[in-house]
Symmetry: C2
Subunit: 435 residues, 2 copies
């Protein structure tokens, strides 16, 4: 498989210096015979020859490497420098109100490494001194309070693995604008182990008014003071005031030192750089929940407060921009998730939805977390249309694009959870198509 | 709590510019009254004042932040620059055959971020070009083969969350040498989501000799060609040839582009920079499994091939080098793990083992993975001895140091899984002690 973007080290030529001429001719002769693409070698040529012998010893086996701890905080290999977050060219007009997408085509498993978590800011990324940062809780509470980071770190904590998906993920597809890769179609999606204090613990600490409280407002400390309303039932259920991300403190672009985490809900509600929670009795109708993040329907009316990210899935490999180099075996793999709980099943089609087979789900299958699915496929060299369709534990089935459009029209921006199709050409090239 | 190492931003003074003089005096008056340490404020002074008003607005709320995607590959905040891997001063004589420890005292949850995974090398960290890297499988196989990285990436893959612990973790305590922090006592321990091909899949692909195969040898491509023997039952069970670590390709110090992963077994067996697997009918007795990584017993004989990392736990907070700033509520938290499967229970004592209470275990509880435990504690200001004791699903109970010494003497280096004690002084200072 080949990603068309700059990607050194993924397509690997036969290294002539590693094999003797005899081995090379043997390798070439055997290559066509083998089901797999590994080179078969004569046992006699290799066994017991720990130094590499006549096969040539690569330089890193002949001299000491870098000292241990050369990087007190480690970084990826230079050979992986193509695996980065990317902006979609032309998508936004301001670099401060923009997004960089997670390279899902390069990732394995369900955890997104912190360096590759997608970033969506509304006024740039603030650089907050945690010793100066405060969280205030006010409104319908018996005792408004201001917490320092040290205060918050002393509260009882929890850790949970959850995805965050921007409400506008896969937005381009509404209007038949097919961006080329899964990084751009679905890359406003990441998953991490978050640690923090349950919001219910802090609301209790301030003695919130159980009778009158219906909503909370979360407010960020960034320049736009981004605000979002969250219903109190949700706030008291699994919403977290988070400071940890995959074991360490939040990354700056993910809200350092403090963010809200509203599991299963569009990312904008998980307010970053969280500085205030207000308890109230009605929704606030702020800018980012009226002018934006509402769904324009075919009749000209807008749906508002459509929080949940419904059940969705996407094949990450093979996916748009990649190339199948040979016929034969491939493992089709991808991600499934639901804002309503656990993934129950993922079906995969290679013929555009006429036939489906059930994929294998990787344990652990966690609520409101990414779930990795995999299924075997033998590509015969013919054109193929790859699709995945997820079902969550409520029984909800991921819809086709056509089904979504029947209800929502074509002017929506948010909440596109339709089935994604990747077309494989006889050349092996994989493209984003709509069927 | 305070970590004595350089640690800006953890102990937070009251920022006078954030509160009005009236608020400050109110805060000080209320501070003594509150169970928690949060500042209580007048609701009237704050509610509805989204801009910060008279309280002062921090600079990051008044101007645009950094452009989105300022780091295509993200990094921690500058305020977290103290959270790094560290060498234990004087522990090793060569920087190429040394170790840097994971800062467990700073981490949350069970996932170790890739930048902080502990590193133990025997000849430095090689910098391998993946397009030039090969894995050979030879020995008792029908068809020896050489795999490129592309070959391996096409095989069926799996992802699993497992810990890796060096066999020498907590070694200093054998001889009553109490290093000061949990980073140095237990920091050769990390946990990640690993992705790769099951070794059994590759052995099948080469047609290994099911009758004669009793062991495999794994060999690294680093300068010392580090080699380890693994029994075939283990190799066919859950051993993985891994290329992925927390979603991305392995980090260079963790074997990029390929390593063995032998879950539950001392880290040295999870050979990094893996270049060869040989199938054989007896153990190899190589340098790193005879001269080293064997256990010198009181009678002068050595135990060899003691693979499994037995059930173990440690409190990471409060832990050595930290300081409790006030009496009152603390959450005691730590990690438990077992090379034999899942953690079943963790008990915590605050009086040196006379009384035990059962801690809460954080889901998911995965086999051969770290498990986070937590328990509430009210510190009354008296001296305290904090201990944790883990039990795994086999019923094995983590032993006391005295019990271990009765069997193993004092000349061991490896496989110390004894209960760890942290002493809290009336000053709040926390120390490593042996009881």
């Amino acid at each position: 498989m080949k990603d068309k973007q700059p990607k050194p080290g993924r397509i690997i030529p036969v290294p002539e210096n590693f094999l003797s001429p005899a081995d090379i001719s043997r390798r070439r002769a055997l290559k066509a015979l083998l089901a797999g693409s590994a080179a078969a070698v004569s046992g006699a040529a290799f066994s017991g020859d720990e130094s590499g012998g006549k096969l040539g010893v690569p330089p890193w086996s002949k001299s000491l490497g870098k000292p241990v701890g050369a990087n007190p905080y480690g970084l990826p290999s230079e050979f992986e420098r193509h695996v980065i977050r990317r902006e979609s060219p032309g998508l936004t007009t301001s670099p401060h109100s923009s997004v960089v997408f997670t390279p899902l085509q390069n990732l394995f498993g369900i955890i997104t490494p912190n360096g590759l978590h997608f970033e969506r800011d509304h006024g740039g990324r603030p650089d907050i001194d945690p010793s100066q940062h405060r969280l205030m809780i006010n409104g319908l509470v018996r005792q408004p309070k201001i917490y320092t980071m040290d205060d918050l770190l002393r509260f009882p904590s929890v850790s949970r693995i959850h995805f965050i998906e921007c409400g506008a993920n896969t937005a381009m597809e509404w209007a038949n604008v097919s961006v080329p890769t899964v990084q751009y179609t679905h890359g406003m999606l990441s998953c991490a182990e978050w640690t923090g204090v349950m919001l219910s613990t802090l609301l209790d600490d301030c003695g919130f008014d159980r009778k009158r409280a219906k909503y909370i407002l979360a407010e960020g400390a960034d320049a736009p003071s981004l605000t979002r309303t969250v219903p109190i039932e949700m706030a008291l259920d699994d919403v977290m005031v988070a400071y940890g991300q995959n074991g360490e403190m939040l990354r700056p672009e993910n809200g350092y030192p403090l963010r809200l985490l509203v599991p299963g809900v569009q990312g904008v509600s998980s307010v970053k750089w969280l500085r205030r929670i207000e308890v109230g009795d009605q929704p606030w109708n702020t800018r980012e929940e009226s002018l934006h993040y509402s769904d324009l329907m075919p009749d000209g009316m807008s749906r508002q407060y459509t929080w949940i990210q419904e059940c969705k899935s996407v094949i990450t490999s093979p996916s748009g921009g990649q190339k199948l180099l040979d016929k034969g075996y491939y493992q089709i793999t991808g991600l499934a998730w639901s804002g309503r709980g656990r993934i129950k099943r993922v079906d995969v089609s290679t013929d555009g939805g006429r036939n489906w087979r059930t994929a294998e789900l990787q344990d652990p299958i966690l609520p409101k977390a990414l779930t990795r699915f995999r299924i075997d496929w033998h590509w015969n060299g013919e054109p193929a249309l790859l699709q995945s369709r997820a079902v969550d534990e409520t029984g909800y089935v991921q819809p086709k694009m056509r089904q979504l459009r029947e209800v929502r029209g074509t002017r929506s921006i948010y909440h596109n959870n339709a089935i994604q199709t990747w077309k494989v050409d006889p050349s092996g090239d994989v493209h984003n198509v709509q069927v």
